[in-house]
């Protein structure tokens, strides 16, 4: 459960976010969309506590984000950044095991979770490989496994508290098959009660898996709603300044944006 209560963010005099209000109930998927510089990543960073809001507040599981202590919040909230640099030659499974840092569940259980998480992102075959030698897409899959491992109990639905997963452009470096895999994972863990907020550029991919889309522009929240409500040529023109056509998907009828 995540409430963004009229949040504003100004960093060194530059307003990045302006009066953003958003509610993400437990088990929903929210996709943040908008052109570059719209404030999507900034909003994600306010939610994750990396920036503290200069106006308003973010409430996470009933408590303001700023009042959570790092070790406590890390037990139920995981964050996947756009890209991370790792200069040291950990193996892929060691990287995933770092996701278990906030927990004291013991080596046996952690090893189980690590291999299950790697399997979930189709990266079991990378387990022994050195992380620094992986391709961009492989690295991102291993990082995804790491954040899944961090909130694994929540992803399996075996936890009393509400899990939260924040993803910043998770599919940017994935091939087609893995983009679909990502959507499947996101939908599956949402059903089991994990609240997902992610930054996405692909409108169709977002339409497929998000319960609510958030259109952002210049630090403002332009529109919030479901894919069928928001994906229309007028709004896409207004937010992205591109002419697009929207048609129903031939099979499931979800809106399909065509350039």
């Amino acid at each position: 459960m995540l409430t963004i209560d009229h949040v504003g963010l100004t960093i060194s005099g530059v307003p990045l976010l302006n009066n953003i209000a958003l509610n993400c109930p437990q088990g929903t998927v929210t996709a943040l969309m908008g052109p570059n510089g719209a404030g999507k990543t900034s909003l994600l960073k306010v939610i994750s506590g990396e920036h503290s809001a200069t106006q308003g507040q973010v409430v996470i599981n009933g408590q303001p984000a700023t009042e959570w202590k790092a070790p406590d919040i890390a037990r139920f909230m995981a964050v996947l950044p756009q890209s991370s640099t790792l200069e040291f030659a950990f193996t892929a499974q060691e990287v995933v095991a770092l996701g278990r840092t906030p927990h004291g569940t013991g080596l046996m259980r952690d090893t189980e979770i690590v291999s299950a998480a790697l399997k979930r992102v189709d990266a079991s075959y990378l387990a022994e490989r050195s992380f620094v030698q992986l391709s961009g897409g492989e690295k991102q899959r291993v990082q995804l496994a790491r954040v899944l491992a961090q909130i694994w109990e929540h992803c399996e639905g075996n936890s009393g508290t509400d899990g939260i997963l924040l993803l910043d452009e998770p599919s940017a470096s994935f091939d087609l098959a893995h983009q679909l895999m990502l959507i499947e994972i996101v939908q599956q863990i949402a059903v089991l009660g994990v609240t997902v907020v992610m930054v996405m550029h692909d409108l169709n991919l977002a339409a497929k898996c998000a319960d609510q889309l958030v259109m952002m522009n210049c630090g403002h929240c332009t529109a919030v709603g479901s894919a069928s409500e928001l994906l229309n040529p007028e709004l896409i023109k207004k937010v992205f300044s591109v002419k697009a056509k929207v048609m129903p998907h031939p099979v499931d009828g979800t809106p399909l944006v065509v350039m």
Binding site: E50, P71, L86, L98, G99
Partner: protein, 328 residues
Amino acid sequence: MLLLALLPCTLIIGLMTGPAFISLADIWAIYTGSGVSQEQLIIEVIRLPRVILSALVGALLATCGALLQGLFRNPLADPALIGVSAGASVGASSMIVFGSLLAANGVLLGLPAISLGAFVGALITSVIIFRLATGPRGTSVATMLLAGIAISALAGAATNLLSYLADNDMLRRISLWQMGNLDGATWDRVTVCATIALLLAVLIPRESRALNAMLLGESEARHLGVNVEWLKRRLIIYSALGVATSVAVAGVIAFVGLMIPHLVRLLVGPDHRSLIPLSALAGAILLVAADALARVVVAPAELPVGVVTAILGAPFFLWLLIVQRGRD
């Protein structure tokens, strides 16, 4: 495991070698109390404290190297390379020159003034380098090394200025610091060094998991529940303490902190839970061996051990740069 067996071997070889060679049988005889008195004197007063001090200093430097590399998230960090040792050496030199004005008998606040000076110098330079080199996007290696060069130059100038002000006795002690030398080993120094090493041996391993998380990046570590700001402060203090102690007792010994964690990482990977203890062990072995070498190469005179580690370390550093360039 191999390292564990190697340490006693190098320690014994360290005891045997020197201007006067003492055989294994003679060392055993001294140990059992039936040795020749002159040899016993050499072992007890000169070689044993020296070998133990080398081991401690080597362990401290290698551990601090591993810590700094984790803190900067960069495998090229080394206490001497980034100017921390130089800062410590200025601190120590100013205490040698001005210490008598501040404190009687070289003791300040109950601590040996030179160690205290070295610690303050190391701490200040660590903080300056860290502030300069670390931005919101992580640490810039170029800035880190350049800042290290600038600070080393500044520290060098400050030490030269201090040498100019110093009298003969002070001058000799200052130049000893700059070269890195273990021939001043006494049981007093061993005690100081061992105390600090023991303290750090208790404190540092507790940070291993957090250090592992730090390697992913600062914000990633924060999201993994690490209180990054406090962790950074503790790491800076620990490494400053370790480097300062080693500089205070043995002067500036370069490249141990760079080479050892690297070699250990090649063997066991970057996990700090094994990296830190093994680096300490390997650092001890390297410095005992380097010091033994320093004593025999030009016997009966001896080389400063800093020269030996630099001869080994500088090519190693160049090799690292070549490997890194190949990867980019």
